[in-house]
C-alpha cells in the first residue's frame, strides 16, 4: 500500500532511531530504503519474538525503536510482547503487516484474517487498521497521529497495515 520513500519519510518524521524487523513480501520492499536511511538503524532479527525484546533493550537504553513484523510474527511473538509491553510496561510501537487483507489470491481463506484483529483486541492494546489503499497520504498521517498519541500517553501501540499478498 505504501512506497518505500513514504515509509522512510514517516519513520523519519516520527524520529524512530531503529527498525527491528523481519521482512515479508510487503515489508521487504521497504528494506533497501530503510537500510540507506542515515537516521535509522536497521536491525534484522531471526524470529519475531526477538524483535520485541531487542526493541525493549533499545528503548531502555534511550533509543526509539519501531517493531515491524507481519501478523504471523505477531502470533509467534506473543510471550515476548507480553513480557516487554505488560510485565515491564515498555511503550513500544509496532507496524504490523496484515497478510492477505487486500488480496487473498495467493492464500485463499488465509486464517490471518480470522485471528489478527481478535488477538490484538485480546492484548488490549491501542491498535488501528490502515486499509485505505486509495488514500495513502491520509493513512500515513493517521499512523503518525496514532503513534504520537501513544507516545503522549506512554502506552504501546500497533499500526495494522493491510497487505495484498503473502
Amino acid at each position: 500500500m505504501f512506497t518505500a520513500p513514504q515509509v522512510v519519510a514517516l519513520l523519519e518524521e516520527l524520529a524512530f532511531t531503529h527498525v527491528v524487523t523481519i521482512p515479508d513480501s510487503t515489508l521487504g520492499q521497504w528494506e533497501d530504503s530503510l537500510k540507506q536511511c542515515e537516521s535509522i538503524e536497521y536491525v534484522g532479527v531471526c524470529r519475531e519474538g526477538e524483535a520485541w525484546a531487542v526493541a525493549a533493550g533499545l528503548q531502555l537504553g534511550g533509543a526509539t525503536p519501531l517493531v515491524m513484523i507481519q501478523c504471523t510474527g505477531l502470533f509467534e511473538s506473543g510471550d515476548s510482547l507480553r513480557n516487554a509491553l505488560f510485565d515491564y510496561q515498555r511503550p513500544l510501537f509496532g507496524l504490523v503487516g496484515y497478510r492477505s487483507f487486500l488480496d487473498q489470491s495467493t492464500l485463499p481463506g488465509d486464517t490471518c484474517l480470522k485471528f489478527t484483529e481478535p488477538i490484538l483486541d485480546a492484548w488490549g492494546m491501542d491498535w488501528a487498521l490502515y486499509d485505505q489503499a486509495d488514500d495513502t497520504e491520509g493513512q500515513l498521517k493517521a499512523i503518525a497521529a496514532q503513534c504520537l498519541k501513544c507516545r503522549e500517553a506512554d502506552v504501546p501501540g500497533i499500526a495494522l497495515v493491510a497487505e495484498g499478498r503473502a
Binding site: 531503529h18 527491528v20 538503524e41 536491525v43 534484522g44 532479527v45 531471526c46 524470529r47 519474538g49 526477538e50 520485541w52 525484546a53 531487542v54 526493541a55 525493549a56 533493550g57 533499545l58 528503548q59 531502555l60 537504553g61 534511550g62 533509543a63 525503536p65 510471550d79 515476548s80 507480553r82 513480557n83 516487554a84 510485565d87 515491564y88 510496561q89 515498555r90
Partner: protein, 200 residues
C-alpha cells in the same frame, strides 16, 4: 572447590562476575542466575534482574541495550535451556556485531527451576550440543569455555574486555531443589530506574 572437579558451583561462578564487573558494566541475569545473583548481595543500579522474563529472550534484550549504549559493556548470563529456546539469537547478535556484548551460558544441562528435567540436549545422557562450536559457527568474535572455577576466575576480566561479540560457556553444577527467582520489586518501576542508570 576442587580444581579437578568438572563443573562449577553456580553461586561461585557468579561470584567471580560480581568481583570482576566494573562500575559501568551492565549485568543481566535470568532464571537461576538471577536467583543466585540476588542472594550474593546488594544490587548495582546496572544490574538487570530479568525476572519476570520471556524465556529465551535475554540475549535479544541485552543486544538492544548494547546497540543503544555502545560505550557500556553488556554482560548477559543465560541458561542452556534458555539458549536452546532461541538459538537464532546467536545470529541476530553477530549480524549486529556489537563489540560491547558478552553472552555467558551457564550450562547445567537441565531445566533447574521446573524440577531438574533434562533439556532435549541432555535427555539421552551426555550433552548433544557443543555450545562454543555453535557460537563459533554463528560468527562470534571471541569464544571461551571454562569448567573450572579457578580458570574462570583468572580469565574473567580479560574475557569481558575482549572485543566482542563474545561467547562464554561455563559448565555448571545443578542446584538440587532450587526454586525459581522472584522479581525483587515492582518490575515496571525497576525498568524505569534501570533505564535512568543505563542512559546516565
Amino acid at each position: 572447590m576442587d580444581s579437578t572437579q568438572r563443573g562449577m558451583p553456580l553461586s561461585e561462578s557468579l561470584g567471580v562476575l560480581r568481583e570482576t564487573r566494573e562500575d559501568d558494566d551492565v549485568v543481566m541475569t535470568v532464571m537461576g542466575t538471577a536467583r543466585e545473583w540476588m542472594q550474593l548481595g546488594d544490587l548495582h543500579p546496572l544490574d538487570w534482574i530479568y525476572v519476570p522474563s520471556s524465556m529465551g529472550q535475554a540475549p535479544a534484550l541485552a543486544l538492544g541495550m548494547a546497540l543503544a549504549q555502545p560505550d557500556k559493556q553488556i554482560i548477559v548470563c543465560n541458561g542452556d535451556g534458555c539458549m536452546l529456546m532461541n538459538l537464532g539469537a546467536l545470529v541476530t547478535i553477530t549480524a549486529q556485531d556489537p563489540s560491547n556484548f558478552t553472552l555467558i551460558i551457564f550450562d547445567n544441562g537441565i531445566y533447574e527451576i521446573t524440577g531438574a528435567q533434562p533439556t532435549p540436549a541432555t535427555a539421552g545422557g551426555d550433552s548433544l550440543v557443543d555450545y562454543p562450536a555453535l557460537a563459533a559457527a554463528a560468527g562470534f568474535r571471541q569464544i571461551f569455555a571454562f569448567d573450572q572455577l579457578d580458570h574462570w576466575q583468572q580469565s574473567a576480566r580479560d574475557v569481558i574486555e575482549a572485543p566482542g561479540p563474545t561467547f562464554v560457556h561455563l559448565a555448571i553444577e545443578p542446584v538440587p531443589g532450587a526454586a525459581g527467582p522472584r522479581s525483587p520489586s515492582h518490575a515496571p518501576t525497576r525498568a524505569e530506574q534501570f533505564a535512568e542508570a543505563l542512559q546516565r
